[in-house]
Symmetry: C2
Subunit: 411 residues, 2 copies
C-alpha cells in the first residue's frame, strides 16, 4: 500500500489551471457561487471528472459528485472526498480546490493502480461554501445533510440582488438529483490549514480532530445624524463611535483571556457616510469562534450584555440579527487515527488540531463519520492571493488522503 | 428705524417654496451643486431677485448676485448679504436658503420703505457651499476672495465623475463676471445655528463673533486580510480594529478635556468587507474643529502621534491625506456689536457665540469686515430633514439683519 502515490504533476497542473479560471479585470481570482466564473470552474472540473471515467451527478443545489462505482458494489455507501471550488473575492488558488482536485486525484490513482474497492468512492464539489454572495456559507453541504430545505436555499437573494436558484439554472448547474441522495460511509476533506500553526511548528500533516463553533451576527446601531461642527461631544448619539467601541471591546476581551476564542469585525458601513455628519447608523458583522460550545455561548452572552450597556451609555439603539450559528464539531476519532497512522508510515510528522475555519466536513459530520487533513499555509495567509502551500506539502497531503481512502474503501 | 420690519409671509413662503425644489423619488431634498435640482433652485431665486427689481450678476464660478444700486451710489462698495442654496443629501430647508432669502427680503423691505442707502446693497448665493459633490466646500466664496483660482475650481471632478465647469455650463450658470468683481464694504450672513446652544438656553439671537478652525483628514490603515477563524488574535494585523482605536482615542481625548474641540469620524469603509476576513484596509475621515488655532494644531499633532504609536503597536501602516484646513476666523467686532444692539432694541436676548460649522462668511471675512447672525435650531439638528426653526425665530433673525444692514448701508 505504501508504494502507491498520486500523480503530483497532474494534481498540481490542475490546481494551477483551475486557479486561472475566474480572474477579473484586475487579475483577481473571483469565483462567487452561481456566477459565470463559477460555471467556468465547474465546467473544467466536470470535464476532468468525466475524463477520469467517473459518473457525474449534480443535485438541485448544484453540488457536483464524481462517482467511481462498479456494478458489483453499487449498493455500498461510498467513501466521499471533497470540498468546494467557489471562492471569496480576490482569493488564493488552494482554498477548497485543493480538496476537490486531490479527491479526484486519489480516485484516478486508485482506479489506475488496479485497486479493488469494497465500496464506491466519490468526490464532491459543494456549492457556495464561502457564502460571499449568498448566505449562509457551507450551503451546499448543509442542504446535502438536510440542515436547510433546498427550496429555501434556492430562493436565497444574494448581495447583488440575484437569486441563487435562478443563477444555478442560468449557468446550467441546477441538477435533477435530490440533495442527500448520496449517503457516505465516511467523509474526508483535505484542505490547507488557513492558519499559521503547522508552518510555524514545521509539521506537514494536521490530523483535524474537531472544528470550532461559529457564531455570526449582524449588528445595527442607530443614533442621530447631527452636524459634525456644531454638536458638542457630550450631546452626540454617534452610531459610528458605538460601533468602534464594540470592536475594541471584542479585542480587549480576547486579549485578556487565555481561551482560543477569536472575534472579528469584517464588515462595516456608516450612514450617511459624510465627512461632516455624525453617523446616524453603523452596520457591522461579528464573527465569533471557539472550539468549546460553552465558551462560545459565554462570549455571545458577554457581547449581548456589552451591547445593552453601550446602548444605554451612548443613547443609541442596537439591534442584532443572527446570520449563522454552528456548534463545534468533533470529528470521527478512528479516521483521525488513520490520518496519524498514514503520516507515520510515510515518515511524516503530524499534529492533532482544531479547524479554525468552517468547512463542508462539519456539515457532512452530521450524517457520516468525518474528518479532515490539513497541510501548512504559508504565513497562515488565506482568503488572499498570497495564499500558498509548497508543492511538497500539497503532494504529501494528497498521498495521506490516498492512504486513508484506500484503507476505508477496502472495508 | 425700529418700526420697519420684513414681510414675514413673503420670506416664509419663499423658504417653503424653495424647500420643495429638488426633491428626489423618495421625497428627500437633494440640491447638489451643479445638478438639475440646483438649476431649478437657482432659477426660482433669480426670478425672485429680478421681480424685486435688482440687477442680477453671475460670475464664472456660478455665484449669483442680486444688486440694488441706484445711479448716484454706483461707485460705493456694497453691503453684501448672503449664503448658499445648494444642499447636502436629504437636507432640511433652512441651511443656507434662509440667509439668501432673508438677504433678498431685507433689500426688498428697504427698497419699498423709501430707505435711501448711502451705498449699494447686494445679496449673494454662493456656489457649492456644502462640498458634497465637489470638494472643497465653500468653494464659490473661496473663489470670490481669490483663495482658489477659478480655473482650478471649474475643473474639479465630482464624486460622480462630473466636472463642475461643464455642469455649470450645462445648467446655464457659468456666468461672465470675473470672480471677486464685487468688493463688499461689509458682509453679514444670517444662518440657523445648526447646533443646540441657542434653543437650550432660550436665546433667539446669536451674535457670532468667531468661527471654528476646521481640519479634515482622510486616513488609510493597511493590515493583512487573513482568515477570521484561523488567525489567533495575537497574530492579527487588523486594519478595522486599528481604525476603531482611532475613533475611541478621539472620543476619549475630547471627553477628558474641557476644550470645545469636536472630533468626528463620519466616513468609514473596510476592505475586503467580508464577514470572515480580517480587514486588510480601513479608510476613514477625521473632522477636527476648534475656535483656537493653537489648540486645533495641538489636536492634529496629538492625532498624528497616536497614529504613529498605533501603527507600531498593531503592525499596520497608516497614511494620512489632508482634505481641507481652515484656520479659525475672528469676525468684525463692530458688526457683532451692531447685531447685539439691534437685538437689544427689539427686546430680544442675544448671545455671543462661536460658529461650529463652516460658512461662506469665513471666506468673505478675508476681504471685508464680516459677521454672522444665528437663530435657534430645533434640537441642534441640521443636515437632516428634521432641521427646524420656528417661524417666530426666523422672522426675528431677518429683522435683526434688516436693522444691521440699514445701519451699515447708511454709512
Amino acid at each position: 500500500m505504501t508504494a502507491r502515490s498520486i500523480n503530483a504533476e497532474r494534481l498540481l497542473g490542475r490546481l494551477h489551471a483551475l486557479g486561472q479560471i475566474g480572474r477579473d479585470g484586475d487579475g483577481r481570482l473571483v469565483r462567487l457561487a452561481g456566477s459565470d466564473a463559477d460555471k467556468a470552474g465547474r465546467d473544467v472540473v466536470v470535464a476532468w471528472i468525466r475524463a477520469a471515467g467517473l459518473d457525474v451527478a449534480i443535485d438541485r443545489i448544484g453540488n457536483i459528485f464524481g462517482i467511481w462505482r462498479t456494478a458489483d458494489i453499487a449498493d455500498e455507501a461510498p467513501v466521499l472526498l471533497g470540498s468546494h471550488i467557489d471562492t471569496v473575492i480576490n482569493a488564493g488558488i488552494y482554498d477548497g480546490c485543493y480538496g476537490v482536485l486531490s479527491g479526484l486525484e486519489v480516485i484516478e490513482t486508485l482506479k489506475a493502480s488496479g485497486y479493488a474497492p469494497a465500496r464506491a468512492i466519490a468526490v464532491a464539489a459543494f456549492t457556495n461554501e464561502e457564502g460571499v454572495r449568498y448566505a449562509p456559507d457551507m450551503m451546499g453541504s448543509l442542504v446535502h445533510v438536510g440542515g436547510l430545505p433546498v427550496e429555501e436555499a434556492l430562493t436565497t437573494v444574494g448581495t447583488d440582488g440575484t437569486v441563487l436558484g435562478i443563477e444555478l439554472e442560468r449557468i446550467g448547474y441546477a441538477g435533477a438529483k435530490k440533495p442527500g441522495f448520496l449517503k457516505p460511509h465516511a467523509y474526508i476533506e483535505l484542505h490547507i490549514e488557513q492558519g499559521p500553526v503547522l508552518e510555524r511548528e514545521g509539521i506537514p500533516i494536521g490530523a483535524v480532530e474537531n472544528l470550532q463553533g461559529i457564531s455570526w451576527q449582524r449588528i445595527t446601531v442607530d443614533g442621530d445624524a447631527n452636524h459634525a461642527g456644531t454638536t458638542p461631544m457630550s450631546m452626540r448619539r454617534d452610531a459610528g463611535h458605538a460601533a468602534a467601541r464594540v470592536i475594541t471591546f471584542l479585542r480587549d476581551r480576547a486579549q485578556a483571556s487565555n481561551a482560543p476564542t477569536v472575534a472579528t469585525v469584517g464588515c462595516m458601513s456608516f450612514e450617511p457616510n459624510a465627512i461632516n455628519v455624525i453617523p446616524s447608523r453603523a452596520t457591522f458583522t461579528v464573527d465569533l469562534r471557539d472550539p468549546d460550545e460553552g465558551r462560545l455561548r459565554a462570549e455571545e452572552v458577554a457581547l449581548a450584555a456589552y451591547l445593552k450597556d453601550l446602548a444605554a451609555a451612548e443613547e443609541v439603539t442596537i439591534s442584532v440579527e443572527r446570520l449563522a450559528r454552528f456548534e463545534p464539531v468533533t470529528f470521527d476519532s478512528s479516521i483521525v487515527e488513520l490520518v496519524e497512522e498514514a503520516a507515520r508510515r510515510r515518515g511524516l510528522t503530524s499534529k492533532r488540531m482544531t479547524s479554525g475555519a468552517g468547512h463542508d466536513a462539519q456539515m457532512i459530520a452530521r450524517i457520516a463519520p468525518s474528518a479532515m487533513i490539513f497541510v501548512p499555509s504559508f504565513g497562515g495567509i488565506s482568503h488572499n492571493p498570497r495564499e500558498h502551500t509548497t508543492d511538497i506539502d500539497l503532494v504529501a497531503g494528497a498521498n495521506i488522503l490516498l492512504d486513508v481512502v484506500s484503507h476505508l474503501a477496502a472495508q
